[in-house]
């Protein structure tokens, strides 16, 4: 069987490393990555190779068939997310190893939390069982809350508390939805639900609960209030991980469920409503980002805005032509991946700039372009992708979404895509304007270690390159999906 070992290793390995890093002395915690990262990369690539050669697979844990046991689904979407996670988390880990050196010893608990977070995410990407997803969400969510709290300053604790409350409420809403679905259809497996689900009151209420719960976890406007303090206030590598990957997990579940339940069950009105909320997020998030004075808060609000684009998926695939739906699928996933890469790069380079000037204020970046061109360059490359300007992943995604919007005749989403791009240009260039200004000279800019700059640059460059070489990733992502085959 293909991926017999590599599939379970994707979550077993990080779990084991998480425990091991608790047992070793703090100084050794970061060093575990030299074991873990290559192994995880190898497992991810092996899964990809399996997908490319043998196509989508179902992995039966305990060798039990689906409604009885828990199955894992190894299709293009899951593998794509796994590879994205491996790439971003690996780079964030390399960054954190250097970044956390100067932090108090408590921050070495970042490492066990990172591994648990990773295990939770890989578990979610692979899950085919809606209750298993709940447990996976909790592993990931609690680890993420812990990472936010890691600084232990009052602000960090408040942000973590707020995040935790949102996450818990979201989980319970999701769980209740799962309970209703189980009551109605007697199965927890997505494949089973796909067969059995019909349009009735129970399904609709369950779907509404699940959507609300997941929206809260994804921080879609107007349920986003917890995100900026949590993402903007955390340690830099944590911000990058949370913004790039963690919020994607709940969106991913929603996307999968939406397609699993199928067009008979998913109401068009809800789809349009999700799109409208997405549009609200794009505008509100962009506007708020532009108004921020702290660099990382700006980047955090940018996440609020960018999440909005992902939700255009729902109106564009619901009751539209197969071609429009396929383009929306491609575009949304491209957006998701490009945002993961670009946002991680943006947070990391923002962290580098903050290290360099020793202040989180944007206004203190005056003239920094002279001293830290490389950090700024990474920031710029990532910004290009977020603005959706070519050549970048963000642009390719926008192109596909525009296409889909025109084909499906929903021209109003075009406006969202255009204005959203201009708004993001406004807040990205706000930073640039400051950095190019020749104001009172700063003569004491700290030089952060080269690794930090290189990691940010690699992420930013991948956000650009993924747009140019999108053909193959999109081909893989389509494997085994309802939309890809149609």
């Amino acid at each position: 069987m293909i991926g017999l070992w590599s599939v379970p290793l994707l979550f077993a390995l990080p779990l084991a490393l998480g425990i091991l890093s608790l047992l070793v002395v703090p100084a050794w915690r970061p060093r575990l990555i030299f074991v873990g990262l290559p192994l995880l990369a190898a497992a991810s690539l092996d899964v990809l190779a399996g997908l490319a050669t043998a196509g989508p697979q179902v992995y039966r844990l305990g060798d039990w068939i689906a409604p009885l046991g828990i199955n894992l689904v190894v299709d293009g979407l899951a593998v794509g997310m796994i590879l994205m996670t491996t790439l971003v988390a690996t780079l964030c880990a390399l960054y954190a190893r250097v970044y956390l050196r100067d932090h108090p010893p408590a921050s070495s608990f970042f490492w066990p939390l990172l591994w648990f977070l990773w295990a939770g995410m890989n578990g979610i990407w692979l899950a085919e069982d809606i209750f298993n997803l709940y447990v996976g969400l909790e592993v990931m969510g609690l680890a993420a809350v812990g990472m936010v709290a890691l600084r232990a300053t009052p602000q960090a604790l408040a942000a973590a508390m707020r995040y935790l409350l949102a996450a818990l409420l979201g989980s319970l809403a999701y769980l209740l939805g799962v309970a209703l679905l189980y009551a109605a259809y007697g199965t927890l497996s997505m494949a089973g639900l796909h067969e059995a689900a019909t349009n009735n009151a129970t399904t609709q209420v369950a779907l509404a609960l699940i959507i609300l719960g997941l929206l809260l976890k994804t921080a879609l406007f107007p349920l986003h209030a917890w995100l900026p303090p949590a993402h903007g206030g955390a340690l830099t590598p944590v911000s990058a991980l949370l913004s790039a990957l963690v919020i994607k997990a709940s969106f991913y579940i929603l996307l999968r469920l939406w397609l699993v339940l199928g067009p008979e069950v998913t109401p068009e009105l809800t789809a349009q409503l999700l799109g409208v909320l997405g549009a609200g997020a794009v505008f509100y998030g962009g506007w708020m980002a532009w108004r921020q004075h702290h660099l990382k808060q700006l980047v955090a609000y940018s996440t609020v805005a960018q999440i909005g684009y992902l939700f255009l998926f729902f109106p564009l695939v619901t009751n539209t032509s197969p071609e429009a739906a396929r383009l929306a699928w491609d575009g949304t996933l491209m957006m998701l991946v490009a945002h993961a890469l670009a946002k991680a790069a943006l947070f990391l380079s923002a962290g580098n700039l903050i290290l360099a000037v020793g202040s989180p204020q944007i206004s203190h970046l005056v003239g920094i372009s002279r001293f830290r061109p490389m950090s700024l360059f990474s920031f710029g490359l990532a910004g290009v992708s977020l603005m959706g300007l070519p050549p970048s992943g963000g642009f390719t995604a926008k192109w596909l979404l525009l296409h889909s919007a025109i084909l499906s005749g929903q021209w109003w989403w075009l406006i969202v895509l255009f204005l959203g791009g201009l708004l993001s240009a406004a807040y990205i260039f706000k930073v640039f304007r400051m950095s190019f200004r020749e104001g009172p000279q700063i003569d004491r800019s700290v030089t952060p270690p080269l690794t930090l700059d290189v990691v940010a640059l690699v992420l930013a460059a991948s956000a650009i390159l993924i747009g140019l070489f999108a053909h193959l990733p999109l081909h893989w992502l389509r494997m085994g999906s309802v939309l890809g085959m149609g």
Partner: protein, 233 residues
């Protein structure tokens, strides 16, 4: 404030009504999962269906659930290191309490053991047993019994890790013949599940106990300035 309560009330009323509607209108499932469970019971290695679901059919859920518990402990450990506590003086040093404890402790241990053992044929199992164990620890603490062995960080952590590591190790070991993760061979399923449950009981007990211990004991106040008498009230 009042507006918010009214709005919250309306919202909750709406949610409740919607839920009620969903409950009333629900279709009867076509899929008959209990039957599948019943027919797979002979291969599960245990006699009680809930335990079979928890530790065999859906053991992956349980594996992740233990990870959730560990994450909570990790965060608690991290926060204590970042915000160090003063040496704790919790508990009443009361001879009567100690005498009662001397009676209670063995009983608690026996109950925990029974719950664990019972899990294979009637309700019970690792989590229940672990919770009872943790309760014993909490009582010890409240009675002011010093538990130095619990302060040994490495031993403590090894105990915490034991359950999940064993679980993972067994899950991976059984794969050697070329079957998927967590596929217990039918002949040894009972033994393997017992080993997992034993270690899980210990780890769950320790996890819950450490979560109790890792919250700041009494010095909750920001300035820590209130006199001792106030605190005891």
């Amino acid at each position: 404030m009042i507006l918010r309560i009214v709005l919250a009330g309306l919202l909750c009323l709406g949610v409740t009504v919607a839920l009620g509607w969903a409950v009333l209108e629900r279709p009867m499932p076509v899929e008959n999962l209990p039957e599948r469970v019943a027919s797979a019971m002979p291969e599960s290695g245990v006699e009680h269906p809930i335990t079979a679901v928890l530790l065999n059919f859906r053991s992956y859920d349980t594996l992740l659930e233990i990870a959730v518990l560990l994450v909570a402990v990790v965060v608690a450990l991290a926060l204590r290191e970042a915000q160090p506590d003063q040496p704790e003086q919790m508990g009443l040093d009361n001879p009567l309490l100690r005498a009662v404890m001397a009676w209670l402790l063995p009983l608690i241990l026996v109950v925990a053991g029974f719950l664990l053992w019972a899990g294979s044929y009637q309700p019970g199992g690792a989590f229940q047993a672990g919770s009872v164990l943790a309760a014993a620890g909490v009582l010890l603490r409240l009675a002011g019994v010093t538990t130095n062995w619990l302060d040994n960080a490495l031993l403590m952590r090894a105990g915490l890790a034991l359950g999940l590591l064993t679980f993972l190790g067994i899950g991976l070991l059984v794969m050697l013949p070329g079957v998927p993760f967590l596929t217990y061979p039918a002949a040894h399923a009972g033994t393997l599940i017992l080993v997992i449950e034993l270690t899980l009981t210990l780890s769950i007990g320790l996890t819950l106990l450490s979560l109790f211990r890792l919250t700041p004991p009494y010095a909750d106040d920001p300035d820590d300035a209130r006199p001792q008498e106030d605190r005891n009230l």
